[in-house]
């Protein structure tokens, strides 16, 4: 097992190198550069542009820029500096990643906390009105775009005053005790987590329902029922354990994609996450910040896949990695 993990981690190095090279080439091919934004300012002269180009190292050929970038990573573990923010890329991304992970975890809680019980519920009451209305509800949740549901929820928050309108913390956050801080964070987290979490809900719910239905038809369940076990024990102790296996794998995979998939929600809810940082960097062609965030997102994605594989091995004794 340990060698397997080590091998998977080592495989990441060429993968990330390739990703960084591709991203760098794409950024070079894109028209304009970080300094293009200065075009509407009548006070900027040619010499000023040259001085800035030199300051950012943009006057060197692309292969020299890329070489220096790799050298700094391998020799100093330094991912370069953002042009716009005059700050180390690593510092900027670290701040965003924690906030995004918080949102991603809360959203995962919404998805899975609702999908599993609702999936079970509709499986044991297959074809009832409840089963049908749950799937209608799920499909609606799946098909409303995040922009719309996000803005509608924010409008509700603004009109009723029940919840804050976007943001991550109140202005008086620092004056609160830890209970107040936690509650404040939770209040700000509720709406964005709901929006991110509801989209994949329908799929997961149907998956849970289908898996459980499959298992409930198996012989050993009939045996358990024939033995006279109560239905509760049959469903939760015998059937559910086997039905939940594929969902564990899925959970690991979604972890990776959640980090990169919350851009729209982060913008609408003014959530200070990684998606916004990447998006702004892309718009401004802040190249080392773009590279850094692409590498970070890829790293988390690959790590998520690894975690999924490992979880599967733990949950299912039949799977073993040599």
């Amino acid at each position: 097992m340990r060698t397997y993990i080590l091998r998977r981690l080592l495989q990441m190095i060429p993968l990330l190198l390739g990703i960084s090279f591709l991203t760098f080439i794409l950024l070079q091919l894109a028209p304009g550069d970080f300094l293009s934004a200065q075009a509407e300012n009548p006070m900027v002269s040619q010499e000023r542009l040259e001085a800035m180009k030199h300051q950012f190292g943009l006057d060197k050929p692309w292969y020299v820029q890329y070489g220096l970038y790799l050298e700094n990573i391998f020799l100093h573990f330094d991912f370069g500096e953002s042009f716009a923010r005059h700050q180390k890329v690593f510092v900027i991304l670290r701040e965003g990643l924690l906030n995004t992970l918080l949102l991603a975890l809360a959203a995962a809680l919404v998805t899975w906390g609702l999908a599993i019980p609702l999936g079970v519920w509709s499986a044991v009451r297959q074809y009832s009105w409840l089963d049908k209305s749950l799937s209608v509800f799920g499909v609606i949740g799946l098909s409303i775009p995040e922009v719309l549901s996000g803005l509608l929820l924010l409008m509700l928050a603004a009109r009723t005053g029940w919840l804050p309108v976007g943001g991550m913390r109140s202005l008086d956050y620092d004056q609160m005790d830890w209970v107040g801080k936690g509650a404040d964070l939770l209040r700000h987290l509720a709406l964005p987590a709901l929006v991110v979490g509801l989209t994949p809900l329908a799929g997961r719910m149907r998956q849970m329902r289908g898996n459980l239905l499959d298992v409930l038809r198996l012989d050993y369940v009939t045996t358990a029922r024939a033995k006279g076990l109560p239905e509760n024990v049959v469903v939760f102790k015998h059937a559910l354990r086997n039905a939940i296996n594929p969902l564990i794998t899925l959970f690991g995979y979604t972890l990776g994609s959640l980090v990169s998939g919350a851009l729209i929600v982060e913008i609408i809810f003014a959530w200070p996450g990684l998606g916004r940082i990447t998006f702004e960097a892309l718009q401004a062609q802040d190249q080392y910040l773009v590279l850094g965030s692409v590498l970070m997102a890829s790293f988390v994605l690959v790590l998520g896949n690894l975690v999924a594989d490992l979880l599967l091995a733990i949950a299912d004794p039949r799977i073993a990695y040599a």
């Binding site: 894109a30 028209p31 304009g32 550069d33 293009s36 934004a37 200065q38 075009a39 509407e40 300012n41 009548p42 900027v44 002269s45 040619q46 010499e47 000023r48 040259e50 001085a51 800035m52 500096e81 716009a84 923010r85 005059h86 700050q87 510092v91 965003g96 609702l114 019980p117 519920w121 044991v124 009451r125 924010l154 928050a157 603004a158 009109r159 029940w162 804050p164 309108v165 976007g166 943001g167 913390r169 109140s170 202005l171 620092d174 107040g180 509650a183 404040d184 939770l186 509720a190 709901l194 239905e231 469903v235 913008i267 609408i268 003014a270 200070p272 996450g273 916004r276 702004e280 062609q285």
Partner: protein
């Protein structure tokens, strides 16, 4: 029937509801009395204002982007300037947005010798940085030397070199600074008003070690960020907010000699989406909004009473919109193309180079229709880089070619261009159909709409226009680097202070924003040579009447040539909560916050 399944479902619903409704308390604002612990300066700066206020309170402002640095000298974007300029850092001379006059700030007075070469600046005794260190001539000389540094090459750099010679600064004593220029220089005071004073005792070492560009970045701990302005940094949370608190050593006071600023805090909240910002304003989480779209003006006007805010009319913007035709020639000896050849197809170059054709285009554009449809009526016609929003430099009666479709048709007929093959598009005398592309940046909805109006208007002349919205960076590459365009619809921001002398790059034939034909080694036409000499005259005199005269002539010359085909400029309105006193939003940059050190929160009735 499994009862546990029901319980699980119920638990899920309850869990969600519980999370949603935990703690619904509204945040009240505590009003603490301010005790001034620092003695007032020997020469306090007495600020004029509508009514003296009281201390306390907080102003929350929504911005789409966070500041990128607190180093105002190296910053490039307005989200940084909004926090630094006039807030964290101040200048010897202040541009007063309300009066559009330059008034003493960190100096008490200045005089200029009759020959216009030597100016003497008397510093304010008792003015101090936010750490209590006095602001002396050492700091003034230090700040100027950074702006004039050859390697840093700040955006103001060129303005310190009138007559090709740099300013000479000296300090006879700690509270006097002398500036010598090679001759009279109109931009002297505006430039001094743009030099933000930074502390030598903090930043001197960084500068001498070549690390100034990265000093005062956003990670600087607040206690290390020593400022010269009315405010200092309290807290910076990346992508969330920037909080300023009062600088206890600030030299400004009100008529009753109470120290300014009145407010305890100014908060810049980062809200990337404008719809969210509007909802935050509605919910009372934000006190003011900027950049409201004209299509929403009516709903803000109607809701003023209900929402307890005022929707201030700031008048026309200082930023411009225009159409330019590509008349660029190859000036770069390193280029693969032949020196002096045109980037444009010679056939099209010949059209665009024809003044009558340019005038015909300008006359074909129905600007009233654009104002009515694109801007919902909230825009004005504009014919210069200094718009009607500029009190000092707007010239109402410049030469202009406004909508006159018949006149345009006559001009085209005079050229001998007509539709010979009946396809609805006119041809020139060699039979080339008159068709060109119009590029603009796709992110600006108003400009895209204007481009489509122009396409329809020119179709009435038989000219076929292909409107092509492009992503901003591609457009700028076309505009400045590869010159791969026929016409572009673009705009220019206002220079600060809004003085034609600060926008010389637009007017000089050698300028980088002289967009129709940039960076000419020497003026290509007699008109451009004349404009160049007028710019030179305009900035090398101190006589305001002479400056106005040359300025009017510059605009008339340019407009007679119709090199900029001018388009309407938008009007601004901003909503601000009614609970503040001394607010005076203006159209000049830092529209709402320019005098926030004089703004106070009105006493509120205690609410239940």
């Amino acid at each position: 029937m499994p009862r546990r399944a029901q319980w699980l479902g119920l638990a899920a619903v309850l869990w969600l509801a519980g999370g949603l409704l935990t703690g619904c308390g509204g945040a009240g604002q505590a009003r603490s009395a301010y005790k001034d612990t620092v003695a007032l300066p020997a020469e306090p700066l007495v600020e004029e204002m509508a009514e003296p206020g009281t201390h306390g309170g907080r102003f929350v402002f929504a911005e789409t982007a966070p500041p990128r640095t607190f180093n105002t000298i190296m910053a490039n974007e307005s989200s940084s300037f909004d926090v630094t300029d006039g807030r964290l850092f101040t200048t010897l001379v202040d541009f007063n947005n309300a009066t559009e006059q330059l008034t003493p700030q960190l100096c008490t007075s200045w005089e200029i010798t009759p020959d216009g070469r030597t100016s003497t600046w008397h510093l304010r005794h008792g003015a101090a940085f936010s750490d209590g260190h006095p602001i002396t001539s050492t700091d003034i000389l230090f700040s100027f030397s950074i702006y004039m540094d050859d390697t840093l090459h700040t955006s103001l750099y060129d303005f310190f070199k009138p007559y090709g010679q740099k300013f000479k600064l000296s300090a006879p004593d700690s509270y006097t600074v002398v500036i010598e220029t090679a001759g009279p220089y109109a931009m002297l005071v505006p430039v001094v008003a743009s030099v933000y004073i930074v502390p030598e005792h903090i930043l001197g070492d960084a500068y001498r070690h070549g690390q100034f560009a990265s000093a005062y970045d956003v990670n600087t701990p607040p206690e290390k960020l020593v400022t010269s302005g009315p405010w200092k940094l309290k807290e910076y949370v990346p992508n969330e907010k920037t909080v300023l608190e009062r600088n206890p050593y600030w030299c400004g006071v009100d008529a009753n000699h109470q120290r300014l600023p009145y407010l305890d805090e100014v908060v810049y909240l980062i809200v990337p989406d404008q719809n969210t910002a509007a909802l935050k304003f509605e919910a009372g989480e934000v006190d003011a909004l900027d950049d409201i779209k004209p299509e929403n003006f009516k709903s803000y006007t109607d809701n003023q009473k209900k929402g307890n805010f005022t929707f201030y009319d700031l008048g026309p913007s200082l930023n411009t919109n225009f159409l330019i035709l590509n008349l660029n020639r190859v000036h770069d000896p390193k280029s693969k193309k032949k020196l002096g050849s045109t980037y444009l197809d010679p056939v099209k170059y010949a059209w665009f180079n024809n003044r009558d054709f340019r005038i015909a285009i300008s006359k074909a554009i129905d600007r009233d229709a654009i104002i009515k449809s694109v801007y919902n009526g909230y825009a004005v016609k504009n014919w210069s880089t200094m718009t009607p929003g500029n009190k000092t430099w707007y010239t109402p009666d410049v030469v202009k070619y406004d909508y006159d479709l018949e006149g345009a048709k006559q001009l085209i007929a005079k050229l001998g261009w007509k539709d010979t093959n009946g396809d609805g598009v006119i041809e020139d005398t060699q039979g080339h159909p008159i068709r060109f592309s119009l590029k603009t940046n796709s992110s600006n909805v108003m400009r895209v709409a204007m481009a489509n109006f122009i396409k329809d208007d020119l179709a009435k002349l038989g000219i076929q226009v292909d409107a092509t919205p492009l992503e901003f960076n591609s457009l700028i590459t076309n505009l400045r680097t590869d010159f791969n365009y026929e016409t572009i619809l673009l705009g220019l921001q206002s220079a600060t202070p809004p003085d034609p002398g600060m926008g010389q790059n637009v007017w000089r034939s050698s300028g980088l924003t002289h967009y129709w034909n940039i960076k000419q080694p020497k003026p290509e036409t007699a008109v451009e040579a004349r404009i160049d000499s007028l710019v030179e005259k305009n900035v090398t005199t101190l006589d305001m009447a002479e400056r106005q005269r040359t300025w009017t002539e510059m605009q008339n010359l340019l407009n007679q040539e119709c090199l900029f085909i001018w388009l309407p400029t938008v009007e601004y309105r901003v909503p601000i909560r009614n609970r503040f006193g001394n607010l005076h939003p203006t159209i000049t940059p830092h529209r709402i916050l320019w005098n926030i050190d004089r703004v106070f929160a009105k006493a509120q009735k205690p609410s239940a």
